[in-house]
């Protein structure tokens, strides 16, 4: 995170912003008054819950005198974490989400990149239309997107299934092998346009002279796209990848909706669904440990990816 932080401040702070205010600066009380309306809820609803989850995750419930004795919670060290790591359902959910992410994220970002590059060429007409249609799903919540798609997956209602049957296929979008990819399709539908717009905005800020210079050197549109545009917008690609990794690890609403119509999605399909299922079973300490592990994996992957790519690309 410090990486983003330092880089962001480096970008945003113009020399004028850095200049010291001579004498006319606000008093400490005023600064506090500006910060408190945000920081009070931030501390209460962000930092305290994070701390509380950490504390819960090192607690265990014990009983005095056998199964029917009175229960009490006590310090358990890493006991809950040990249990998480020994839980095969946890590893199964991580495996599913890993497979999902390794396939869905590159496919989605590749489509987004192609769309952004095409929108950036003079070859394309109706740009506003294409931009808006791709971005439109961003206004649709994951739950409703999943409900919409579930009707397109359902064998009774779906015109898509009918069409495919017409050409002799028997698709089963909700079958054991396919349902993960049906969920992946909902995510792709939702987020491709958003990512495309981030990349497109970055492309638009590249000065045109660069292309003219490249053309004089004999570069065609293809080389300009891959050798000039893509490397320049690499920071946006890193950003969209990190957002996508975070989003994948948080997956909940889409599989939860598909679970309503497919018996091939278990209540522990994704790590978050597992955490919720465990919490519903009143084992909050275990659920807290699972949440902490998910958050740590998110941090490690996001950071790791940022580190790896920024070293490679020399950003």
């Amino acid at each position: 995170m410090t990486d983003i932080a330092t880089r962001a401040t480096r970008v945003v702070e113009s020399p004028a912003g850095r200049r010291r205010i001579n004498g006319g600066g606000p008093r400490a009380g005023t600064v506090v008054a500006f910060l408190t309306p945000f920081f009070l809820p931030f501390v209460l609803f962000y930092l305290v819950p994070v701390g509380y989850a950490l504390w819960q995750s090192v607690r265990v419930v014990r009983r005095t005198g056998g199964q029917y004795g009175t229960s009490y919670t006590t310090f358990g060290g890493f006991e809950q974490y040990l249990e998480v790591f020994q839980n095969h359902e946890f590893w199964a959910s991580i495996g599913r989400i890993g497979l999902f992410g390794i396939v869905q994220v590159p496919v989605m970002l590749f489509i987004a990149l192609i769309m952004a590059l095409l929108l950036d060429t003079p070859l394309l007409r109706l740009k506003a239309f294409f931009r808006i249609t791709a971005f439109m799903p961003y206004a649709v919540p994951g739950v409703i997107a999943a409900i919409m798609w579930s009707y397109l997956y359902s064998p009774q209602l779906s015109p898509v299934v009918d069409l495919l049957k017409g050409v002799g296929l028997e698709p089963d979008f909700l079958g054991p092998g396919a349902v993960l990819w049906s969920a992946a399709n909902v995510s792709t539908w939702l987020w491709t346009g958003y990512n495309m717009l981030i990349m497109y905005s970055a492309l638009q800020s590249i000065p045109q002279e660069l292309y003219e210079a490249a053309k004089i050197d004999g570069a065609n549109n293809w080389t300009i796209a891959w050798r000039i545009k893509v490397p320049i917008i690499a920071p946006s690609l890193v950003l969209t990848t990190v957002f996508s990794i975070i989003g994948t690890l948080q997956l909940y609403a889409e599989p939860a909706v598909l679970r309503q119509i497919s018996s091939n999605i278990s209540s522990t399909f994704t790590p978050n669904m597992l955490a919720y299922a465990v919490a519903s079973g009143n084992n909050y300490q275990q659920a807290a440990a699972i949440s902490v592990v998910i958050a740590v994996i998110t941090f490690v992957l996001s950071f790791g990816f940022m580190r790896l790519t920024s070293k490679k690309a020399g950003l």
């Binding site: 006319g24 509380y52 769309m115 249609t133 909050y284």
Partner: protein, 285 residues
């Protein structure tokens, strides 16, 4: 002689590019088109007629059923959604703007530290927050109230990040200093000078936060048991789960989905220039 093959080639690639983009556009439009068609049909036609073709036009009857079902609970959900998403985003934008502005324009000790803590907050998965928040709120009796969803929603670390960037870019230090010389207090300066200059940015922050709350399904699901407090998403999710037992609910889920997303999509299209500035700022890193 040399010009001709070039134009032919560019015509071929133009056609290919347009064809590819149209295919993708169909992909993005398909579910919404299906929803529009399905929302106009009577329940009986849903399974028996082609999903992509209109049949008997029954939209108004469907809307009536939707809004009168269970004593008009859908209307209640719509009002709740406005409270959570619109009011939450408005309050959230204001507090983000104050904080981001202060972090951009005031010099004080610990400023960079506070900013790093906020940026760290961007990475905390909201789903990881929901469960501990539930436990804390049950201890204080807040579970199953509007506040349980509303209060955590107003906090947007990403909003503060954007507000800081925009305040730096849009509010010149000279203007603040001249307002100070004129004797204006810091809050007066903020509301009468900075606020106006930051307005496009504030719309962006509002939209981002609106979407974040509108999309946040996990938090209301964990916090709320009372149906009367549900946002539309949670209500439709619950109805959708009951369609196996009550097949007639299917038509209301479809019509309700359409009613809930179409106004939002229209607002988005109208405000899209704000999105682009926001996304461009987000991609600066």
């Amino acid at each position: 002689m040399s010009k001709h093959p070039v134009t032919r080639e560019s015509r071929v690639s133009r056609t290919a590019v347009m064809a590819l983009m149209f295919l993708l556009a169909i992909y993005f439009l398909l579910p919404v088109y299906f929803l529009i068609v399905a929302a106009t049909k009577p329940q009986g036609d849903l399974a028996s007629t082609n999903g992509l073709a209109f049949s008997h036009f029954n939209l108004f009857e469907n809307l009536e059923v939707l809004f009168t079902r269970s004593d008009g609970i859908f209307g209640r959900w719509a009002v709740n959604t406005v409270i959570y998403a619109v009011l939450g985003a408005a309050v959230g934008t204001l507090i983000s703007a104050l904080c981001g502005y202060a972090l951009a324009k005031f010099e004080f000790r610990g400023r960079e530290f506070l900013f790093s803590v906020i940026l760290g907050g961007v990475l905390v998965p909201t789903t990881a927050l929901a469960l501990p928040l539930f436990l804390l709120f049950s201890a204080t009796g807040l579970v199953n109230t509007y506040l349980a969803v509303f209060l955590p929603s107003i906090v947007s670390p990403f909003g503060v990040y954007l507000a800081r960037i925009f305040a730096n870019a849009a509010v010149p230090q000279e203007l603040i200093e001249s307002a100070r010389l004129d004797g204006a207090g810091e809050f007066r300066t903020f509301f009468s000078v900075a606020f106006k200059l930051m307005t496009p940015a504030l719309v962006t922050i509002f939209l981002f936060q609106f979407v974040a709350i509108w999309n946040n399904f996990f938090l209301p699901m964990v916090m709320l048991q009372k149906e009367s407090l549900f946002p539309i998403t949670l209500g439709l999710y619950q109805w959708n789960g009951q369609t196996a037992r009550a097949p007639l609910l299917q038509q209301s889920v479809i019509t309700g989905s359409l009613v809930s997303i179409v106004p939002v999509i229209i607002v988005f299209i109208l405000l899209q220039r704000f999105w682009r500035t926001g996304l461009a700022a987000g991609s600066l890193k």
